[in-house]
Symmetry: C2
Subunit: 594 residues, 2 copies
């Protein structure tokens, strides 16, 4: 090794010993006849000391010529620092330099290599290898490493076998768009990159592997919204001879193990909620349960008493649903603030038609708080009082109410609830709230395509008691499917699978596959079900997202070493890029002018 110690290693107990360090110049301070260099590596920072009259003059001269990020090798004696730095583990010592060597000089970096950098996103992506030197980014990847390690500790301990499934597989029409790979040996044919190892893990169950997992790259050629990557990583798992309850327990165990091992947090049991309940209480199948502000219906689904109709307010009268949230302590919102909020929710991204508010004013001068709403014309104070009681509102609170079509009103109110939660500081990234959402619908109807789609995927099993509904009411069939939600983010999901050929064939038929198509695409799986397939189920976690969540960071980008930008480009290596005509010829493909 070129060094005897790392830059994070020396302590007072090393006093008077000789050490050699290697690293990067973080800073140089030159004060009178004394020169300090902070030398940095992955493990820490150690201060180097050069003193006029004590250090050889040529070293002193060389040291003065160094720039930030030069790669150095320094040998010296470990001594006690006069002014200690309690913020770093090496802060009690410094290295009095006796030899100094430039291993590699460095041009001035295009942005500051510090926790707070002056580099913009584009520049940092282009010089990603420099951005990776910054502590927050490096720490994010170290966290990811620990997450992977601890995932393996848990899974190995539960007798799961890690099996690598292929990356060059077969393109299938269901789900998102595949990336494809032309085959040179089989001209005119293509491999696809897996969106998930779904069929392979099910085949491993048919093979009797019993418990499988893999931390595995998956691929989706989708238009990239912010913070989506064309390649992403899953913790992919499958188990045999289990029911839903077993899977929930097993992977609740994994998440609790990760919280304990990586964050030191004793996570309570994960609460459970059906999809229907989540939609009713939060308007979302991935509710952020760090805070309340649950939905209150003034008019709506069958078990709700209509508290709004017949008072002359046509908007509510004609609405399928009137639903709101009570925002604690926000009665002081000014008309201007409420107008802004109304504009915010009317933006095309959310698309509400309007926003009704009811201020429950604070008690004043011994008088109980009055109620003031934007619909005072239609509703008496007694009506509003009844609403307030229904909302559980207290003086000082603000009720925000939306109306319209049930699905849309819920979706819009979900956005509003999250926004108000953020404004009130109720969404602390270092507070964690977990939730299992259960009993998802098996199918959802695509209005545009005019057909049914699998809500999870075509291999998900309907609840046995709902199988008769496959003949009568497809939308009412519930699946043995479950999602794990943390802080309003779906971090994992899975299902108990179909393991019977006939039911699987029926599922494909419901999804609009002809018998021939089903056979061509998934014949191998349906065949496998005839040779002794065990009951099985599983789940996959989005590993990038899970890591960013544990890191308390919204963006997954810094939890991926070399991410792509929103156009799917790696701007550092400049990829994708044209390939040669010779390569195209070999592959027997041509590119078509745009």
């Amino acid at each position: 090794m070129l060094r005897t110690h790392t830059c994070g290693e020396l302590r007072l107990t090393d006093h008077n010993t000789t050490a050699t360090l290697c690293g990067w110049v973080q800073t140089i301070r030159d004060k009178g006849g004394v020169l300090w260099i902070d030398l940095r590596d992955r493990y820490g920072i150690t201060q180097l000391l050069l003193e006029d009259g004590q250090t050889a003059p040529e070293l002193f001269t060389m040291a003065r010529s160094l720039g930030r990020e030069f790669v150095m090798k320094a040998t010296g004696t470990v001594i006690e620092r006069k002014s200690k730095n309690p913020n770093i583990p090496t802060g009690e010592v410094e290295l009095k330099v006796t030899a100094l060597e430039i291993l590699n000089p460095a041009k001035l970096p295009p942005f500051l290599i510090e926790d707070e950098t002056d580099g913009g996103d584009d520049l940092r992506m282009k010089y990603r290898y420099l951005d990776l030197r910054r502590n927050p980014v490096r720490r994010s990847l170290e966290l990811r490493h620990r997450m992977a390690q601890q995932t393996r500790v848990y899974m190995d301990g539960q007798d799961f076998i890690e099996v690598e499934t292929p990356v060059l597989i077969k393109s299938t029409p269901e789900g998102a768009r595949d990336f494809v790979v032309p085959s040179r040996m089989n001209p005119g044919e293509f491999y696809a990159l897996p969106q998930s190892p779904q069929t392979f893990k099910q085949l491993l169950m048919v093979s009797g592997f019993d418990r499988y997992y893999q931390i595995v790259k998956c691929f989706r050629d989708e238009d990239l919204r912010a913070d989506r990557q064309p390649e992403f990583t899953q913790i992919d798992c499958e188990m045999s001879f289990v029911e839903q309850e077993d899977i929930l327990n097993m992977f609740e165990g994994l998440i609790r193990h990760l919280f304990k091992a990586v964050k030191g947090i004793d996570m309570a049991e994960v609460p459970r909620m059906t999809y229907a309940e989540a939609m009713k209480r939060y308007g979302s199948d991935k509710p952020d349960t760090r805070f309340g502000m649950e939905f209150v219906e003034l008019k709506g689904t069958f078990d709700t008493v209509d508290m709004t109709s017949g008072k002359g307010f046509g908007v509510f009268d004609s609405a399928e649903m009137v639903v709101g949230i009570n925002v604690p302590g926000c009665a002081h919102y000014t008309r201007k603030q409420l107008d802004e909020l109304t504009d915010w929710i009317k933006r095309p991204q959310i698309g509400a038609k309007g926003l009704i508010y009811v201020r429950y004013n604070e008690d004043r001068d011994g008088e109980p708080g009055t109620l003031k709403s934007s619909v005072d014309k239609f509703y008496s104070e007694a009506d509003l009082k009844a609403w307030a009681a229904h909302f559980g509102a207290k003086p000082g609170d603000l009720m925000l109410i939306l109306s319209g079509d049930c699905a849309k009103a819920r979706k819009q109110l979900n956005e509003l609830r999250l926004e108000m939660g953020s404004r009130l500081g109720l969404r602390d990234p270092n507070v964690f709230s977990t939730l299992w959402v259960l009993d998802f619908p098996l199918l959802e109807y695509g209005e545009e395509e005019n057909r049914w789609f699998a809500m999870h995927h075509p291999f998900t099993s309907p609840k046995p008691e709902d199988i008769p509904l496959l003949d009568t009411d497809l939308g009412a069939v519930r699946a043995n499917a479950y999602d794990l939600v943390i802080n309003g983010t779906e971090v994992g999901g899975g299902s108990i699978r179909i393991f019977n050929r006939d039911l699987q064939a029926r599922m494909f038929s419901i999804l609009g596959f002809s018998d021939e198509e089903a056979k061509a695409q998934f014949g191998f799986l349906m065949d496998a079900f005839e040779f002794g397939a065990p009951p099985h189920g599983g789940l996959a976690f989005g590993f990038d997202r899970l890591c960013s969540l544990f890191g308390g960071v919204d963006s997954i980008r810094d939890f991926i070493a070399f991410p792509k930008n929103n156009s799917g480009r790696d701007v550092m290596i400049d990829s994708p890029s044209p390939i040669s005509q010779a390569q195209l010829n070999e592959l027997k493909i041509a590119t078509i002018a745009k």
Copy 2:
């Protein structure tokens, strides 16, 4: 869980308890009024017992109807077996069945699910999910899992960070053929799948990650020779601030750890040999050192005394090299056997012109053994005696000698040596012999292409003392490159890297890149070298091969869950396959008729 225990779990200590097992019917024996079912899962086999008069008649009837590979759930009482089976851990007990349920019936499998199967390769590939049920295949994948686990134990213990590098990267002209992926978002442009994460791991060193590893899929679109796969797995590693010696020690440590942890073998220190020495002694840069039979030169490189010329044998006189091996105890080889051996070595795959033999006959009736050769016409017994002494041959041995061009003769004799080693049973797959091969040439000349190629890759550093030879004798420049060889198989290789922009640019120029090409392909790496790149080096192990070697099996196929055949096809899922015109249109590519 549908079961209380696995099929490998019950013991005499569970006597009289109730247990529920799930698994596959391995065999059914029906003898008089007693019926035994061997129920199998990943963990073992447990015997189920049904007795006429004791077991409910309907269960008995159902059990009689079962076929092999039916998936069953059985509940019963654990009892002591009358005739114990000492070969399996559950062999002292059986489960006296009180409830029996068919979880899934099974069609008759197309081949026997047993250690020795009657299924041919093609059938087993098509029904890979059934082949994976067989013990030897399952055990191979379990071994792979343990190898990966123990690799991580070692690497984590040495402060390496596992970092995932991208799968969608950039096509580069050097090395093997890339698989490419058309980009829909960037029409006319392609990603490539990585042949290795080489540049990314070097960038991680520039980023200061210091110690990186990854167990990672890599891809090569090459014509598949037997036992090559288009996708394969590497243990990929890189370290900063190291010299060759540090890397050899670190990864010798890994290999010894794996032998100990996975095989229970205390592996001795790994011997070292230069490339030049390996070529001279074994004619190969990956010698099988499980046995001797080292090369003996009768005429050859400059330090060899010519023991053959001037005796009128034109073949040897005109040869650049005369080189042989001494095969112990094979003087009894008949003329017919020797002719066969000659034919074998003259096959086009090996291409020798002929084979000279010298039999050193056993001593007989007190007379010392005579020497008999195929070149007696030219060489006296005294000559042959001198050769024998030079070979270290003893009575009973057989010397086999080839001649010709140095490189060819060595290559051919290497094949012959391996063949004789196999014939003599000296290549036991459960004996392990390791070797570091060092000081590889930096470059090799491609006669066909009429240019120099990097022997390892373009990022490999020349030995500092050989850098002047870059001006004068490219073929003589040695690299700081090393291979780890086990039993004649290269299981890993690596190098100290170039970390200086100018030297890297020079290397590209030697390899025939124009400045523009080098910049377009690897500009990002050369730029990175200017921003403070540390000295670094690394290594990659072929994980599939390493696993098969540890498994004592020649083929890597059973150490890959879902391998492809020699045409790059997955015959189980029938991939690659045509994709739809709509997909092609979206990707803006067309296939071209063959």
